[in-house]
Symmetry: C2
Subunit: 581 residues, 2 copies
């Protein structure tokens, strides 16, 4: 090793030791005969002190040093007069005898400090420099630890990590595939997996019985703010189990991660029906760090002459505790928030329950004090509260009120990044209606098993069929989802039929799986976690980008290596493809 | 869980317990009133005994069972009268009260047993059934354990596993890339990584200092018997180290794996110069499970009138201990082996040192008893030995003799799969001459550092420049290779120039790396192991296929899922590409 110690490990117990350190120059202060240099590596920061009065070489070398130069220093650990309690090495410094410049550095395009002056684009272009900053590096160290703990937990339960192929087969169902032209099979293409779904099911047919994999998956989608074309899943599958077993084992995984990584233990790990989540939170991924549950008002508010309410399928509201003193401006802000096109509400009704006990609404023409007292009772509102009410078509108004609830949660400081509230959402619908294609789609995927007691509704009321499907939600974000799978050829064929597959299409795309079901497929089910998202929540970040070493931008580009790029005609010719711009 | 126990865990200590087991019917014997069924899962085999005399349901169900049916049984653990010491469950059986068929099975196309009757193609087509067989499943369990132990060892040494991107940039250097058309950037392509080489070097520039990753890599090559288009590497990189540090740490990894997985501890972990490996074994990956080192004979054999020897650049041989009694037929077999086109020798000279003390060669016309006594002395031959000699151009004759040595090693039983002999081969040449392109290529890759003391030979004698490059060899197979890298822009530019890159090409392909070297790149180096190969050696297999869950065939096809395949015109249109067949 070029070093005897790292820049993070020396302390008072090393006094008098001769050491070699390597690292990057964080900063340098020349005080005449004495120069102080902070040298940094992944493990910490150590102060060097150079007495340059009688050492020309040392003086020259130290004067030539710039920020981010890579140096090797030899010296002796001495006690600092001016201790820095914020640093693990803050009690000592190194009296330097020799400095060797291992590599010079140009002045970096932005500050390599916890708070940097670099904009997003510049930092992406020089990602390798951004990765030197503690907050970013710490995210990747956290990610490493989490992956290790996931493996430790699952290995301890006899799960086997099996690598499934990356070059697989394209299937039109689901999101868009990335494809890979095959040179050896001209005119044919591999696809990159959106998930190892069919392979893990085949492993169950093979008797592996407890499988997992931390695995890259790929989706060629237009990238929204927080999507990446390649992302990582913790992918799991089990045989001979019920839904209850999966919930318990992966509640266990979640608890294990929180305990070992963050020292957090959950008293409760609640479960909620999908139907209840929609009714009480207007979302299949409720943020239950705070209450503010929906209150449905149809029975109370209808029939008083207010067309907005009378004509609405659903009148529903939330109680914003302690917000009765919201100004007209604050209320208008909320209304504007709701009217943005991405939310699309037409307006908001409110009712103040003032601290003086009076009730005043924005629809006082239609509702007298008695009526509003009924409202307050329904909302469980107290003096000082503000009731916010929306009306309209059920699905739409629930979505809008969900947004309002989250906004109010944020405004009231109820969504603390250091508070964690996990939740299982259960019994998702099997199918969802797609307006665009005019047919039902699988809500989860086509391999999800309907609840046995609902199978006979497949023909009569497909939208009412529930699935043995579950999501794990954390702080209002879906971090995992899974289901009990179909393991019977006939039922799988029936599902494909209901999803609009012709028999030929089903056979061409998934014939191998349906055939496998005929050779002794055990009952099985599983779950997959979005590992990037999970890491970002653990890191207290809003974006998944900073828990990835080399993310791509919203156009799917890596601006550091400048990829994608054109390729040589010879390559295209070998692959027997042409670009058609 | 549908079961209380697995099929591998019940023993005499469970007598009297009521249990539920799930698994596959291995076989069934109906002895009139009593039926015996072996039920199998991943963990083992348990015998069921069914008294069907008084239970019509049980009789009907058991008669309906075929091989590979998936069943759930409920019963009581009882002691066997006829114990089977070969099975962990051999002391007990289950007196069955109820059987539930969880899924029926068609008769499998081949026997699901350790020795199967299925041919390679059939087993590939039904890979999910082949994976049910113990030997195949055990390979994947072994692989899982090895991956866990690799991670445990490296994590313990502060290595961080960082996921590098799969969608990267195509570079013409090296093997052929798989490419991925970018829909969002029409006319441009990603490439799948042949290794994360540049990314791991950038992580060193970022100060990560100890990186590893168990990672899929891709090469679009014509597949030889034991190549796969996607394969897995244990990829590692370290900063602030010397070659010696890397050798020690990864010797440690190898020792750790052998100790924890196979209970093998090595006394020696030898090292050899590349030049010596070529001289003594004719190979850069000598199998040192046995000696039979090359003996060079130029000084002894030349000048006696045998043109074959006199005109040869090198006359070199091996001593096949105890083979003096080889028949003419056996010798002819060896000669034919050497004359095969893939080896290409023109012939073989031999000299028997019979047990009666006489020396007799195939070139007795030119060499008398005294000459042959000199041969025997050079070979350290004793009575009963057989000396085998080849002559020709140095590189070629060494390759040929290497093949002969390995063949003789196999014939003499010196290459036992349960004996393990690791070896570091050091100081590889930096460059190798490529006849086809008429220029030097990087022997390892363009980022390998020349030995500082050899840099001045880059212009005068490029072929003599040695690199700080090393391979880890196990039983004659390269399982890992690496080098100290260049970390200086000027030297990297010089290397690209010597490899025939124009300044523009170098900039276009690797500009980001060379730029990174200007911002404080530390000295660094690393290694990558072929994980599939390592697993196959641990499993005692010749092929890597059976340590992969879903391998592809020699045409790069997955015959189970029938991939690659054609894709829809709509997909091609979106990607702005056309096939050009």
């Amino acid at each position: 090793m070029l070093r005897t110690h790292t820049c993070g490990e020396l302390n008072i117990s090393h006094l008098g030791q001769k050491v070699d350190l390597c690292g990057w120059v964080q900063k340098s202060r020349d005080l005449g005969g004495t120069t102080f240099i902070d040298v940094r590596d992944r493990y910490g920061l150590t102060q060097l002190v150079l007495n340059t009065d009688n050492d020309d070489t040392l003086r020259e070398t130290s004067r030539g040093l710039g920020r981010e130069f890579v140096i090797k220093v030899t010296g002796t650990v001495i006690e600092r007069t001016n201790k820095n309690p914020k640093l693990s090495t803050g009690d000592i410094e190194i009296a330097v005898e020799a400095i060797e410049v291992l590599n010079a550095a140009k002045i970096p395009p932005f500050l390599i400090e916890d708070d940097t002056d670099g904009g997003e684009e510049l930092r992406a272009r020089y990602r390798y420099l951004d990765l030197r900053r503690n907050p970013i590096r710490n995210n990747l160290v956290l990610r490493h630890k989490m992956a290790q703990e996931v493996r430790k937990y699952l290995d301890g339960l006899d799960f086997i990590e099996v690598e499934t192929p990356v070059l697989i087969k394209s299937t039109p169902e689901g999101a868009r595939d990335f494809v890979v032209p095959s040179r050896m099979n001209p005119g044919e293409f591999y696809a990159l997996p959106q998930s190892p779904q069919t392979f893990k099911q085949l492993l169950m047919v093979s008797g592996f019985d407890r499988y997992f994999q931390i695995v890259k998956c790929f989706r060629d989608e237009d990238l929204r703010a927080d999507r990446q074309p390649e992302f990582t899943q913790i992918d799991c599958e089990m045989a001979f189990i019920t839904q209850e077993d999966i919930l318990n084992i992966f509640e266990g995984l979640t608890r294990h991660l929180f305990k070992t990584i963050k020292g957090v233990e959950f008293e409760n790990f609640p479960r909620m029906q999908y139907a209840d989540a929609m009714r009480l939170y207007g979302s299949d991924k409720p943020d239950i760090r705070f209450g503010m549950q929906f209150v449905e008002l149809n029975d109370i508010v209808k029939g008083k002459g207010l067309g907005l309410f009378d004509n609405a399928e659903l009148v529903v509201g939330i109680n914003a505790k302690g917000c009765a003193d919201y100004t007209r401006k604050q209320i208008d802000e909320l209304t504007d928030f709701l009217k943005r096109p991405q939310i699309g509400a037409t307006g908001m009704i409110y009712c103040r329950y003032s601290t003086d006990g009076t009730l005043k609404s924005s629809v006082d023409k239609f509702y007298n004090e008695d009526d509003l007292t009924n409202w307050a009772a329904a909302f469980n509102a107290e003096q000082g509260d503000l009731m916010l009410v929306l009306a309209g078509q059920t699905d739409k108004v629930r979505k809008q009120l969900n947004e309002l609830r989250l906004e109010m949660g944020s405004r009231l400081g109820l969504r603390d990044k250091n508070t964690f509230a996990p939740l299982w959402v259960l019994d998702f619908p099997l199918l969802e209606w797609d307006e665009e294609s005019g047919r039902y789609h699988a809500m989860h995927h086509p391999f999800t098993s309907p609840k046995p007691e609902d199978i006979d509704k497949l023909d009569t009321a497909p939208g009412d069929v529930r699935a043995n499907a579950y999501d794990l939600v954390l702080n209002g974000t879906e971090i995992g989802g899974g289901s009990i799978r179909i393991h019977d050829r006939a039922l799988q064929s029936l599902m494909f039929k209901h999803l609009g597959f012709s028999a030929e299409e089903a056979q061409k795309q998934f014939g191998f799986l349906m055939e496998a079901f005929e050779y002794g497929a055990p009952p099985h089910g599983g779950i997959a976690f979005g590992f990037d998202r999970l890491c970002s929540i653990f890191a207290g970040l809003d974006s998944i980008r900073d828990v990835m070493a080399f993310p791509k931008n919203n156009s799917g580009r890596d601006v550091m290596i400048d990829s994608p790029s054109t390729i040589a005609d010879a390559q295209l010719n070998e692959l027997k493809i042409k670009t058609a711009l």
